[in-house]
Symmetry: C2
């Protein structure tokens, strides 16, 4: 399976540090050439499914302008220049919710759009989360912190209350990971 080749690239919109859009001239493996294939770069971000010891998930309720509505989401934020994504995840969890967690697991990195690229989401599961301070996100949005029982998350997803793809993916992946861990624990006990 052969990659496409970029023959030329022209930036058509630049809004540093937020966004760059480029058009590429592409050579397909079969010899055809495509003009104006669009490529978007926004900033990479980390999303955190933080779970407390009583198996509650830390969620944020806020208005998001990309949705034009109020929705529930997991804590998330941009990876700053020179920062590794785990450091970003720990920082954003603390800033947005006031929580810290002692056990961190990567649940993968995912490119937002297969055609345009856009950004990479780094998904983390943070277990044994505890509130240590008050939130101080510095973000533009008003935020409300909620604790939701883990076994209610799938219902929230299906009721449309988690409207952002990045949060839905993180919550579904974390639920599967926690189920797999619970299964392993049961086998160890048996």
């Amino acid at each position: 399976m052969r990659p496409w080749r970029t023959l030329a690239r022209r930036v058509v919109l630049s809004r540093p540090p937020w966004m760059e859009v480029a058009e590429e001239r592409i050579a397909l493996p079969d010899g055809r050439e495509i003009e104006g294939f669009l490529s978007i770069r926004t900033r990479d971000f980390a999303a955190i499914v933080a779970v407390t010891e009583p198996h509650e998930v830390v969620l944020i309720r806020s208005y998001k302008h990309g949705l034009r509505s109020v929705s529930l989401a997991v804590p998330a934020g941009y990876v700053e220049e020179g920062e590794d994504s785990l450091t970003s995840a720990k920082r954003e969890l603390r800033e947005e919710t006031g929580y810290e967690a002692s056990e961190w697991t990567s649940l993968g990195r995912y490119v937002v759009d297969g055609n345009y690229g856009v950004a990479t989401e780094h998904v983390y599961l943070a277990r044994r989360a505890k509130k240590v301070t008050e939130p101080a996100s510095g973000d533009l949005e008003e935020m409300e912190i909620l604790l939701v029982p883990l076994h209610d998350v799938m219902a929230l997803l299906l009721r449309g209350e988690i409207a952002q793809l990045s949060s839905a993916a993180a919550l579904a992946l974390a639920t599967l990971e926690l189920e797999a861990r619970a299964g392993l624990d049961r086998e160890t006990v048996d």
Copy 2:
């Protein structure tokens, strides 16, 4: 929790039918005004987790230029003008893989980016999938169709072989839905 208000909107990049980028002047609930808040529109799409009777998932292996790599993904495609997303899902499954399915379930609709918007992904689970014809996607990519046992999907995700967020989300949501259904079936039998 109060919404933001858009005071003015200016299109800064237009590439119909693929993409539009706009800048907005925003009024925050606390009275502050924000200049140049970016908003992206690309096309909405449907993603399909198709599962055969022996519990295998239909995946596509292809080079995706947004990833700059070969990856596994679920069948997916744009919702055409005037089409409802379930119709798109059925059409794309047939075009890209040659499969049809008799039982369709919506697993929700998710906005790709909470800040910029971008697009909405409509996720579908398609059960009792069967191959009925040869694929004829008309897409630019070379594609290879694979059948992967459902219980191997989580391992594929954690090994980074499902690199697109839209596919990872769809597969994780479908796995949770199928587990919930299996649990209900067991309760019915008990």
